[in-house]
């Protein structure tokens, strides 16, 4: 095997978007045509070199062509243009399960799938216990797979796919349906694969995992390759771009963020981050900051509850303070004004965060105005200097020797 496991050059795939599709001779004859369709390029000029022995990720929005590309690489779809070179034995697990026959039992499907992936009966016999064991489906192995839960389906498919000794493993977003323990098992398996010098190509929307797992990622956007590079850079860029559609420039107090709902007795007109008295979108860990929410109340409203939430880009809900929990009485508000949340030391690790804000009625259950992902801000390295996770605990370190070596 050379240095490149999979390479594509100028790969394009065209699909038909049917407006009318006569799938029966009768209809085709009556309507006088088989189909009316538009052509649509799901992939355009994809040039990729996937190095052998690396874990390679594909990211992109829904419908960007990730699965289509993977299917082309796996040989299930034939590209309309361009060429694909695959060097090594491929085992692919595509969206929502392997190619199982619903009426057959799990056992038969293992044999069916194994032989499609190029194993002999003897090899499957030898691997069978391992496959079932990894999937954890001993009791259900003779049940038809149509009666499997989606997680069980994926477990078995994944288990077959990794146990056929592939040189290149392609996995499309299936792990999401597995439970916690299975996902962990899979992660370990991916790590093993990497240690053994096998190539893994993975599609996922779990960006945190992609960031930590992949050696390299490619970003697809509307069927075009947007970039290939280090996961940390590209994932950030991708997330940034996908939020730009939804939020305006970070820190802009008039930005119209993500979704918004509420009965509008009070509205949140803007939110901003202040540091040293200035509106900013970039602060450092440990900075003294203030979050300001601007409100307007055309009619007097008694005891509204203001709240905000900070999310990491991966969607981790970092914190969600509100005026009710801290015991603040807001009185009756009328006109317009602002609410400040003062944070003396911002204990967030470097990264990009998003702020959601809401104003609720006095019971905290009815939303006057809820604005998702109103703005983003970046945290750069500061003090304390922590890199991992989303919060810094600001702990101090001390090393002590409890017992000196006996000399």
């Amino acid at each position: 095997m050379g240095d490149i496991a999979v390479e594509t050059s100028g790969v394009s795939k065209r699909f038909r978007l049917y407006h009318e599709r006569n799938q029966s001779l009768k209809a085709a004859f009556m309507r006088g045509r088989r189909a009316k369709f538009e052509e649509f390029w799901a992939l355009q000029d994809i040039d990729l070199q996937i190095p052998a022995g690396k874990t390679f990720g594909l990211i992109g929005h829904n419908g960007s062509g990730k699965s289509t590309l993977l299917k082309c690489l796996a040989g299930i779809l034939v590209p309309d243009r361009g060429s694909i070179g695959v060097h090594g034995r491929v085992s692919a697990l595509l969206e929502l399960g392997a190619g199982f026959h619903p009426e057959l039992s799990g056992r038969d499907n293992v044999y069916l799938n194994g032989s499609i992936l190029g194993m002999s009966r003897k090899q499957i016999d030898r691997q069978f216990d391992e496959i079932v064991d990894f999937a954890g489906l001993e009791t259900f192995i003779d049940t038809p797979v149509k009666n499997y839960s989606s997680g069980m389906y994926v477990r078995l498919g994944f288990s077959v796919a990794i146990n056929v000794d592939p040189e290149i493993l392609m996995v499309d977003e299936v792990l999401a349906v597995g439970d916690e323990s299975f996902q962990r098992k899979c992660m370990e398996k991916f790590a093993d694969f990497r240690a053994q010098g096998r190539t893994v190509i993975i599609v996922s929307h779990a960006l945190g995992t992609m960031r930590s797992m992949c050696d390299e990622v490619a970003w697809l956007d509307h069927g075009k390759l947007q970039g290939v590079g280090r996961p940390s850079d590209l994932v950030d860029e991708y997330v940034g771009a996908s939020h730009e559609d939804r939020t305006q420039a970070p820190g802009d107090s008039t930005s119209s963020g993500g979704s918004r709902w509420g009965s509008q007795e009070i509205t949140l007109d803007g939110a901003e981050l202040l540091c040293d008295g200035r509106v900013t979108s970039q602060v450092s860990t440990g900075a003294d900051v203030t979050f300001r929410l601007r409100w307007t109340a055309p009619e007097p409203v008694a005891e509204p509850v203001f709240g905000m939430a900070i999310y990491s880009l991966e969607g981790v809900h970092v914190t969600g303070p509100n005026s009710q929990d801290v015991g603040l009485s807001t009185g009756t508000v009328h006109g317009s004004g602002h609410v400040d949340v003062h944070v003396p030391t911002l204990m967030l690790t470097p990264g990009t965060y998003q702020v959601t804000a809401a104003v609720l009625d006095s019971t905290g259950t009815h939303a006057f105005d809820h604005r998702d992902r109103m703005f983003r801000f970046d945290v750069t390295a500061g003090h304390p200097r922590d890199r991992y996770g989303v919060v810094s605990l600001g702990g101090s370190w001390d090393v002590a020797v409890d017992r000196a070596p006996v000399t």
Binding site: Q23, S24, L25, R34, A74, A92, A98, G99, H101
Partner: protein, 212 residues
């Protein structure tokens, strides 16, 4: 042996090959649509699905033919000499049927109601093939004019299955070598059908995963 001497054997000599043929055509039709999940999720040569259906039926066919052979022995015929030619003929029929199976497999993906039309077609074909009646029945019909006679004959004999069935009957029932024309037609049709089947299949197999 005359057709009416032992009608059961006479019938079976043609019915078993016919059943196999219609089985392969029907099985081929379902081979792709019935395995849509497999085609959409895994990569393998798609024609294997049709070939597998055909091969499975061939096993049954072989067993049935072995039983028929036994029955022929019981009825005092010695068909041992004809075993090898019969096997060759069975393979030729398999090739012929599989070629058509490949075509219909693809047709059924594009037009899901092809199965109905093929079912009707097979029924017509069944009566247009000398399975339940001896071919002499057709040959003995003598319409008034020579021209009409010519038309009926050429239409009737344009059906390749007539020749396959006749070849089986020649070998097993009449214990005779089929005529050269029959042999030529049987071999030619097998090759032509396989060629057509593979051509159609290769033309469309790349898009199967999208069309299903």
């Amino acid at each position: 042996m005359d057709g009416l001497q032992n009608y059961t054997l006479f019938l079976l000599c043609a019915l078993l090959p016919w059943n196999y043929f219609s089985g392969v055509v029907n099985g081929g039709m379902g081979a792709l649509t019935g395995n849509a999940n497999l085609i959409k999720k895994t990569a393998f040569p798609r024609q294997h699905l049709v070939l597998a259906a055909s091969a499975a039926l061939f096993v049954t066919f072989t067993i049935e033919m072995a039983v028929l052979l036994l029955a022929l022995v019981v009825f005092g015929v010695n068909p041992l000499l004809w075993i090898v030619p019969t096997l060759v003929l069975m393979v030729l029929l398999a090739v012929f049927a599989t070629g058509l199976g490949l075509v219909f497999a693809v047709a059924n993906v594009y037009f899901r109601d092809s199965a109905h039309f093929v079912a009707i077609g097979l029924q017509v074909l069944f009566y247009a093939t000398p399975v339940i009646y001896p071919i002499t029945l057709v040959q003995d019909v003598s319409p008034d004019s020579l021209v009409a006679r010519f038309h009926i004959d050429s239409l009737y004999f344009a059906n390749p299955l007539v020749h396959y069935v006749e070849a089986f009957r020649d070998l097993l029932y009449e214990q005779a070598v089929p005529s050269l024309t029959t042999i030529a037609v049987v071999v030619g049709c097998a090759i032509a059908s396989l060629w057509l089947g593979l051509a159609v299949f290769n033309r469309f197999s790349g898009r199967l995963a999208e069309e299903l």
